[in-house]
Symmetry: C2
Subunit: 515 residues, 2 copies
């Protein structure tokens, strides 16, 4: 390994204990640890894990809510070249059982409060492979996380760790089938943190309230940027509006991951100004919100979001980059190559829709225990996002929709999502789904299944009008050859449309590749 | 190579030609190239260089003033895995001849204007290895850079390039002996650019005037941050205050590398406000300067500088990081590990002086053709900066001085620069040098050679007072045992003090390692 040029997540607390010996690293309820205290605990945990046999590539699972201990586990895994998997604690016992069986963790850290019943039921199903530690156990419990950690030496294990090795595993919400554990490398996490810190203006003066779920990259991106830049990470187990207000005021938090419903709750409970939330830099919102907090003028908050997914460690493109643009997803992050490709993997010209593919240090190493799916996603040296996009004429990117199945009509590739997007932009359409129907001349032809808005007549005139509408928005060969109108809602598998049922009902088939 | 996770300097223009097809990449006098035009030229040059036999690791030398073509050469070298060396054009013919012989370049690009006489004299001395191209030649000249470039295909060479490979070579100003070519990798340049862009607030709206010398990393750091974030790089051959004003106004430059004498010249010539310099974000200075420009409120401009050197691709620590601090050089850049070590390479405690060593992606790969010096600098897996520093109690770093020779008294290591710093902080001292004198009991003892300020009496009382002054500032064992006062200035080799002459004159010797 090229040690001289290595910098990994393992080095962050090692460096900060020297650079910020008096500064606070984490706050969690009554717990408040300086960087040396934090790093000492990370060392203890890493050494205790080593004693448990955890080595490079082994998995430590976190099956609980937010806690400073999640960051501790991640940092300890980093020092060992191991992998910290953060599990969605909101899952059912069945779902947790799947993860337990799939992850094959050497050590699993779980939580009694709120999550214990589901964990116990999951263990009854899946067994309890490896060592299990409860992080909210009473002191003295030999199976407590705290006792386990206390048994490790505070000396830095000082192992050589490859920055390209996986350190973080997050299960991705699969639209169909089973979830997959995306393995994100040390360098992936660091590069994303460098970029996020820039666009979100995270520095050593930043105090980030971890209230969004830490099993989700959207929360973690800022956690890790704050960690890298020696800011303070504050933890609260889960979203609770009143508790958030209390913590924001008490710790003078400058950042927090807040969804609109939580903001509405805070607006209501803090209408009288019980809590001083002025340190919080947050997105511009309702006037009463803007008056309560400090409106965040960082590039990220000024032009939020972009295109991203767990498999690229968060954001692949940012609206915050490059200024005004035509696309809905801005421009690529500085350390990624992004291409829009056809099914053969060839780049398509601007304004044409294709799959968004990318490469660069922030791309996942692969899915754990999924060699076939990993190979499929990494075909041709690019990560295939499974999402459709388009380069606008000004070079910016638009997200079009999930890739789904491909329809092939003559030599042309047609993505249902693109046609559905065009259909759904017509006021008469409530929802739509597009399938391919075997066609003796063209291979397949395009059939749209449309549920109309209330009061719209399902006649031939509407069919003609909708087809014309699509033709005016995307290439003519993509327009439906015909439309069937449907009274019932579209069949769905959870959220995703059940295309197999539609094929069966409306004669779909003949997809390229025999799909 | 791990292509899926690779992102190199070669990818920057490749990506920007897609992301910013209509935006300007470079401006140089009448020349104004969009990203696709720039990237086409880079491809042409890269392919022409390939035709000339330039491959991975080969050197292309730039021996001229600032130009958009410097960036072109660097980007072309990046696409080939080759190395672009940017030579100090202010050097004498003898110095240039040394570089020509040392670099062994496959292709050298030179300039007639201002530099031609020295280059010709250097070639007469060193010969003309490889191909020579004149970049300011008339069109049609077969040995012109322009003809050479035009002969290459505009197709992207699309080679796989290792992000860890060297891409940039800058000769470092050696204090003694001959200059060494520091080889900086693709990832070194990118990581430094990510950090600089953050602290200097460089984004796609930034327009950087390259007026400082591009052979110096202090100018190039911002050039490359601007390049990575798709801002505009504007070039002017050299510093000329009136021309700078004209260009800043015409191109609405938001950044420029300006030294204080240039600022004074601009203040004088623009006293009447002939030029609108308001787009320029620059360091806060005299009131009339602040009124003329936009005071830069970026972290970098608010707390400028830090500790750096060419061998770490610029800045290793930043005053802009971590807020107020006790040290004079702030805190480490986010992607480096920094240690203060004793001569055996062991970390010393806070408040003790030792050599600043570091590792991380931005550390040079080594010096070209200097295996011994490279090995010496990289001993123990850390880059040895050759500079002394200290961790203050708050974890921040202070630069103490160049390491120089070590004095060993009993078991203690004493660095002359630290003692000199303490002496020089006394108002009675004009300049000082510290040497080691053989001592039968302690190995060596510390002797200070002091030139006093005008009107100070060189008596015993002054000696006692100065020794006490040093004792109050650094560890007592480091204080001079005695002081000799000297009327003449200290002997110097250029700027560095000539310690050998002082040893000869005052009985120095017995240095550890036989030095």
């Amino acid at each position: 390994m090229d040690l001289l040029h290595a910098f990994s997540l393992a080095d962050v607390s090692r460096e900060h204990r020297r650079g910020y010996p008096d500064r606070v690293a984490v706050i969690d309820g009554e717990i408040r640890l300086t960087w040396p205290q934090f790093d000492d605990r990370v060392n203890r945990l890493a050494n205790a894990l080593t004693g448990q046999g955890v080595g490079p590539g082994d998995v430590v699972l976190w099956m609980g809510q937010n806690s400073h201990r999640v960051l501790e586990c991640l940092a300890a895994a980093a020092k060992l070249g191991a992998v910290c998997g953060i599990v969605n604690w909101r899952q059912s016992a069945d779902e947790l059982a799947f993860v337990i069986g799939d992850a094959g963790a050497a050590v699993t850290i779980w939580q009694e409060s709120e999550v214990g019943d589901a964990v116990r039921a999951a263990r009854a199903q899946a067994g309890s492979p490896g060592r299990w530690l409860r992080h909210d156990a009473e002191e003295g419990d030999p199976d407590s996380y705290q006792s386990f950690l206390a048994g490790g030496s505070p000396d830095d294990p000082a192992l050589e760790v490859d920055p390209a090795a996986a350190v973080l595993m997050l299960y991705t919400a699969a639209f169909t089938g089973t979830p997959n554990g995306a393995l994100l490398s040390q360098q992936a996490v660091l590069v994303q943190s460098l970029v996020m810190a820039n666009l979100q203006r995270v520095d050593a003066g930043y105090t980030y309230l971890n209230c969004g779920p830490m099993f989700h990259i959207a929360t973690l991106m800022t956690t890790l940027a704050t960690y890298l830049f020696a800011g303070i990470n504050v933890f609260t187990p889960r979203v609770d509006a009143e508790e958030l207000c209390r913590v924001i005021e008490a710790e003078r938090c400058t950042g927090a991951f807040l969804m609109p419903p939580t903001i509405d709750q805070i607006l209501e409970l803090n209408a009288e100004g019980r809590f001083d939330l002025s340190p919080l830099r947050s997105f511009r919102g309702k006037p009463e919100w803007n008056a309560m907090i400090t409106v965040d003028d960082s590039p990220w908050a000024t032009r939020p979001a972009g295109f991203g997914q767990t498999e690229v460690t968060g954001m692949l493109t940012f609206n915050a980059l490059g200024g005004e643009c035509a696309g809905n997803s801005g421009r690529p992050s500085p350390m990624v190559s992004v291409r829009i490709v056809d099914p053969a993997g060839h780049e398509v010209p601007p304004a044409e829709t294709g799959e968004i593919v990318a490469r660069g240090p922030q791309i996942m190493n692969g899915y754990r225990n999924r060699p076939d799916e990993t190979a499929r996603r990494q075909a041709g040296g690019f990560h295939h996002t499974g999402d459709l996009g388009r380069r606008e004429d000004d070079g910016s990117l638009s997200f079009v929709g999930p890739k789904g199945r491909l329809i092939k009509s003559a030599a042309e590739n047609i993505y249902p999502a693109e046609v559905e997007g065009a259909l759904n932009s017509h006021a008469a359409v409530k929802e739509s789904a597009v399938i391919g129907v075997p066609d003796p001349t063209w291979g397949q032809s395009v059939l749209a299944v449309v549920v109309l808005a209330d009061g719209i007549d399902a006649g031939e005139q509407t069919e003609v009008e909708l087809i014309e509408h699509v033709r005016g928005r995307i290439a003519s060969y993509k327009k439906p050859k015909s439309i069937v109108f449907r009274d019932e809602p579209l069949p769905r598998l959870g959220w995703p449309i059940d295309y197999d049922e539609l094929d069966a009902a409306y004669g779909g088939g003949g997809y390229p590749g025999g799909g």
